[in-house]
């Protein structure tokens, strides 16, 4: 794992990737700090973080697009398979390297509230609480990007899907206002989700039985639940969309609450997508 980590870090810092990622993040946070803290003279640094989280939509996919897709394209994944290290360690090594690349510009950003505090009152606790949440949220987005990169050998495709997925997540709270809040609409959406999940399982495992049974069990459960407890479905879909949003949970921190459930949620997303990435890599061994 350490070998993979060192190797990845060398690749990032020898190429432009790490610098472009860092520069974009710093510029965006810098612009935010100028607008909020300097021009508008607001002393809350957490607003800047909330504003600048939009940049993740672009920079996370750019950072993660090549991490596994390129290995596959250059056939270097063969080397990783033949080395005496487990797939989980390969993924973990690569993920930690991405976190380091993400952590370096954040260290610079961490100095801002301290600098501002010399010229006025800054709520340091909320600032650093939000910064921690900002780091963990970014880390969960990177895990998503890593998984998307494991699905294809085309970097561009990985970046495109990554941008779409993160953009959807960013706007899912706003979109939740527009989707159907009726019980029937929610039930229908869950049915569609069950079918899509079955299809994904079919794609990943090539096992019809599991895919069909998962799909059918979920569909049956939804239909039964719908007829037994119709009111439970009212407003369910918008609720789920709001709950799934990673970005929305950052706002709790910005409002001054250190929300442990949000941290747990971010960490679960990380574990879940790293697990999926390992499975995706293992699956190629069984093609």
């Amino acid at each position: 794992m350490i070998a993979v980590l060192k190797h990845e870090l060398r690749t990032y810092f020898h190429s432009l990737t790490a610098y472009v990622f860092g520069a974009f993040l710093l510029v965006f946070v810098g612009v935010g700090a100028m607008l909020y803290n300097l021009q508008a003279a607001v002393s809350n640094f957490e607003y800047v973080l909330s504003f600048s989280s939009l940049i993740f939509v672009v920079i996370v996919p750019i950072l993660t697009m090549r991490v596994l897709a390129e290995e596959r394209k250059q056939k270097t994944d063969q080397l990783l398979y033949s080395l005496p290290i487990s797939t989980a360690k390969v993924i973990l090594g690569k993920y930690l390297a991405l976190l380091v690349v993400y952590f370096v510009p954040l260290c610079v950003i961490a100095a801002y509230p301290l600098i501002f505090s010399r010229y006025g009152d800054v709520y340091l606790l909320t600032s650093y609480g939000s910064l921690l949440a900002y780091f963990v949220m970014g880390a969960s987005l990177i895990a998503v990007g890593l998984f998307i990169s494991s699905l294809t050998e085309n970097q561009g495709f990985a970046a495109g899907i990554g941008i779409a997925a993160i953009l959807f997540n960013y706007f899912s709270v706003s979109l939740a206002e527009y989707v159907s809040a009726t019980a029937f609409g929610s039930a229908a959406a869950i049915c569609i989700f069950a079918v899509i999940l079955g299809w994904i399982i079919h794609y990943l495992t090539r096992n019809d039985t599991i895919a069909y049974s998962v799909s059918l069990v979920l569909l049956a459960a939804t239909v039964i639940a719908y007829f037994v407890n119709r009111t439970g479905f009212e407003g369910l879909l918008p609720d789920i969309m709001k709950k799934l949003s990673l970005f929305d949970r950052l706002n709790t921190f910005v409002n001054g609450i250190f929300d442990m459930t949000a941290i747990t949620y971010f960490l679960s997303v990380i574990v879940f997508f790293l697990f999926l990435s390992v499975q995706s890599l293992e699956k190629r061994r069984y093609n």
Binding site: K6, H7, R10, H14, S82
Partner: protein, 351 residues
């Protein structure tokens, strides 16, 4: 050292490797021979743990590649068909990564890197970007990577494909050299190459193991009959009359040429072909027939190869696939003779 038991691999419906079993013992150079698409790469990928098997077992020094992958992989060095190189790194950086991943550290790692660079003859390009190296040198970096960690077995998948004749000779010499200290398995569809450097041949076709043994043994075991071709002025009846007392003749076929001569194809299963040609010559000398030309054709491994691979194809006819393979076989044969020619040429040049 490596034992393979009933290995079978399906890609969906397609059967790529069909119940292969063999044992590999220490200290030989094994040639893994077969036409393109025969299942060579698939088998090698399974042995090295890059691919799962549908059925069967692979044991490396008693360690199952699926049950204890890390212990088994540490005993193998593998160069896949496309050398898995990071093009933006130098050989030294690349080897450092592979060495660390294989669990080497500190002084030992540096010492081993220097050693494999030396053995593969790439010390002088150790700090150049891999992307700028020639194909032969890239191949050497790939081999150097396989040598790190000093594994007992080195597995090379078509290491000479796409190289120029001089590079081919260099890589072959390197493989011979490695064979002195390691067990080497290398795959090829070029017969002359396998014949030149291997002391054991594993031949597969259409996913089946068709032959396994020393080149000479295979030759002896499966040889098509030897043949003498001679051009004479005698006609068919006269030839048969002259040769009627000569022993060990299995069959005579005669054709007439435009200038009134006959070409006789004399087949024999006798091992000592010179004895037979001497007897034929004696018989003609005692008669009125004149021999204008006499050629001996010995059955060779190439015939065995074609015979075996074609037979395997007949046993399992696979409509589209078999015709494709036949084409590829032809192509590989052509390439084989091309390379053989090229080799002799460059050898002459060198001399």
């Amino acid at each position: 050292m490596i034992s393979i038991e009933h290995l079978t691999k399906y890609y969906g419906e397609h059967l790529a490797v069909d119940d292969i079993s063999f044992d590999i013992t220490e200290g030989h150079v094994y040639g893994f021979l077969g036409p393109n698409g025969a299942g060579k790469s698939t088998t090698m990928n399974i042995i090295t743990g890059c691919l799962s098997a549908t059925e069967g077992k692979v044991l490396i020094d008693g360690h199952d590649i699926f049950e204890e992958p890390n212990a088994a992989k540490r005993r193998i060095g593998y160069l896949p068909e496309h050398p898995p190189l990071y093009m933006n790194e130098s050989p030294a950086e690349y080897l450092r990564f592979v060495g660390e991943a294989k669990g080497l550290r500190g002084a030992e790692l540096s010492a081993q890197i220097d050693e494999v660079l030396e053995r593969t003859g790439i010390t002088h390009v150790r700090n150049r970007r891999i992307a700028t190296l020639s194909k032969g040198y890239k191949q050497r970096v790939g081999i150097a990577q396989a040598l790190l960690g000093n594994p007992g077995v080195i597995i090379l998948d078509e290491p000479t494909v796409g190289l120029d004749p001089i590079q081919i000779i260099e890589i072959r010499d390197l493989i011979t050299e490695l064979g002195k200290t390691h067990t080497v398995i290398f795959s090829s569809h070029i017969l002359s190459e396998v014949q030149a450097i291997c002391d054991q041949i594993i031949m597969i076709a259409h996913g089946k193991l068709v032959a396994f043994g020393k080149p000479e043994e295979l030759q002896k075991q499966l040889l098509s009959p030897n043949e003498i071709t001679l051009t004479t002025d005698a006609d068919e009846a006269a030839i048969r009359e002259i040769l009627k007392d000569v022993e060990h003749i299995a069959d005579i076929r005669v054709e007439r040429t435009d200038d009134g001569l006959s070409i006789a194809h004399i087949k024999s299963d006798h091992e000592k072909l010179y004895e037979l040609s001497g007897a034929v010559f004696g018989a003609f000398a005692a008669s009125t027939g004149i021999i204008y030309e006499m050629t001996l054709k010995k059955g060779n491994l190439e015939d065995v190869f074609i015979e075996l691979t074609e037979n395997a194809g007949l046993e399992a006819p696979q409509e589209q696939a078999s015709s494709d393979n036949a084409l590829q076989e032809e192509a590989s044969q052509e390439q084989a003779s091309d390379t053989a020619d090229a080799t002799t040429e460059s050898e002459v040049e060198e001399a």
